[in-house]
């Protein structure tokens, strides 16, 4: 290109504000085309399949799901009556560990992985802009929260429909609701479960800005998750339990009451918003002031 052409390009380079979303699109495409992401989603899709097959085998002789009442994930006893309950069971089974672990991997790798590969410096001189890059990364992690939850739900619905009968269902409160309404509740529950992961996603992105090692950031995030889950089980610490991001996670079951019991659901969403605000701000403060030497 000659000097004249270069100058012309300079003049005609009018920038559309929409172009700024190119990074988000690139980030989403890159994340969801990665083998690692697909493997995580495959594992998540596998959980409802395992649960469904296990329940099917155990009840194939006509008996009910074994064990004392209340054992196993929520709703597991109802699956044989209605395959839709496999959605609730699968979400209850994956929410404490599988889902947040997958989020921890993606979130922990968000900034630290780029730093580790050295690609962070090229994104920043492109220039991606630090706040824009951080927001893009966080938005992508949240998109992954939603996709991961929906993968579990859709896989469970498919397996439930294949192995068990579908139909009207009974809520926890004992009232009957139609299958269509049950399906609506299942979608709502999936959205609430995805929203429950916002806090751990913010925590993971923050940890990711602290180090140049993607593996260290992932391990730290998952380690924090396990620690919080254990502490949440220790009765002597009940005074601080309400501040743990995982404390109200299983409140999504309240959506299956008639009428819906909103207290814990709202506490959960509020707590997630607080975590997102606190750790999002911390990540921003850290990342925008950081010397990028990797």
């Amino acid at each position: 290109m000659s000097q004249a052409e270069a100058m012309q390009a300079e003049v005609t380079r009018t920038v559309s504000p929409l172009w700024t979303f190119g990074l988000l699109r690139s980030e989403l495409v890159t994340t969801f085309r990665r083998w690692r992401t697909l493997a995580l989603l495959a594992v998540l899709a596998g959980v409802p399949i395992l649960v469904g097959i296990a329940v099917r085998i155990e009840t194939s002789d006509g008996s009910s799901v074994g064990g004392p009442p209340g054992a196993g994930p929520a709703f597991i006893a109802q699956i044989t009556n209605n395959g839709l309950f496999l959605v609730f069971t699968a979400l209850a089974a994956t929410l404490p560990f599988f889902l947040p672990m997958a989020i921890g991997v993606i979130a922990g790798d968000a900034i630290a992985g780029e730093a580790n590969a050295g690609t962070l410096r090229y994104l920043l001189v492109a220039p991606a802009g630090r706040s824009r890059l951080l927001l893009t990364k966080y938005a992508t992690v949240m998109a992954f929260c939603l996709v991961a939850t929906l993968v579990v739900a859709v896989s469970a619905l498919t397996v439930g429909a294949l192995l068990f009968p579908l139909g009207d269902l009974t809520t926890i409160s004992g009232t009957r609701i139609s299958f269509a309404e049950g399906l609506g509740r299942a979608l709502l529950i999936a959205l609430i479960v995805a929203a429950s992961l916002v806090g751990v996603a913010a925590l993971g992105v923050f940890v990711s800005t602290l180090t140049n090692s993607g593996i260290a950031a992932m391990a730290t995030t998952v380690g924090l998750l396990i620690t919080v889950q254990i502490l949440d089980q220790i009765p002597q610490l009940h005074a601080i339990h309400p501040y743990f991001f995982s404390h109200y996670w299983l409140s999504f079951a309240d959506l299956m009451r008639e009428p819906v019991y909103w207290d814990d659901l709202l506490k959960n969403l509020g707590l997630q918003a607080v975590y997102a605000g606190v750790f999002g701000s911390a990540a921003w403060a850290r990342f925008t002031a950081k010397d990028v030497t990797a």
Partner: protein, 328 residues
Amino acid sequence: MGEPSATEPDQEGAAHSGDGSVIATRALTKRFRGGQLAVDGLDLTVPAGSVFGFLGPNGSGKTTTIRMLMGLIEPTSGTARVLGQPMPRAARGVLPQVGALIEGPALYGFLSGRDNLVRYDSADPTADPRTRRARVAAALERVGLTAAAGKKARAYSLGMKQRLGLAAALLQPRRLLVLDEPTNGLDPQGMREIRQLIRELAADGTTVFLSSHLLDEIEQVCTHAAVMAQGRLITQGAVAELAAGRRGRLVVTTPDTGDAARVLKEQGAGDVVITEDRVTAEPPDRELADLNAALVTAGVRVRGFGVERASLEDAFVALTGEGFDVAG
């Protein structure tokens, strides 16, 4: 060489630097946590349109300087202006006009070469997505990677990665290219191609800021150079002047080295050194033909007589007082 006047209208039209410098730092200093002083009071001026060689042993602060210029590292004190704008504050406006290769290429191994470029281009909010495919293809073509564009980047050789890194710097028309060791990992043919590419870009009016440890590379392509050692700027200026600052050495090839050395000293030459069948010396300020005549008259069998031009390497060694070793 010199300041191509072709870039002047562009400079003023864009209302950037008034003094015609593309990079200007004032007392730029970086002290890392832990107290290590990486860059110490740097006053660097890169004229518009120059091919500027940035020289220094490993650990002399070159990369830290480049990172400060690109807004990756915050200076401890001092200022840096790139294209007339303060960095890192004006990064959003400045960096789209700057292509950079910093400390070697960094790629997404799981993406193809082409997709790597698409990703880097997407990160630039001023890059038009409608022309993205075409610009990526042009950049690949320019560095000779078109045939390997579909391969995963992890399968690339070091030289191919280097080329892809260069292609990323060439995705848009740039006013400044910052190239840190651009020929690293390339074979001699690849090095020649890259040097040719740099000359072409410079001819188009792009200012090229080139860090290298290969002195002959700097000498071949650069119009200006700066030398750093231990975080400080030792010298900067036009390459011809830097080398000219060192006078050439008189070289006499003869089997009678002892006699030759004696005669040269008598004739006023300084710093006479004998190596095998060569005698070298600082030439005195007089007609060299007379010196040769004196040698022959004294019965010295002169096989060769001449002045070796001082190379940038000589200048470099004289300036840094060391070879190209790692500074402790």
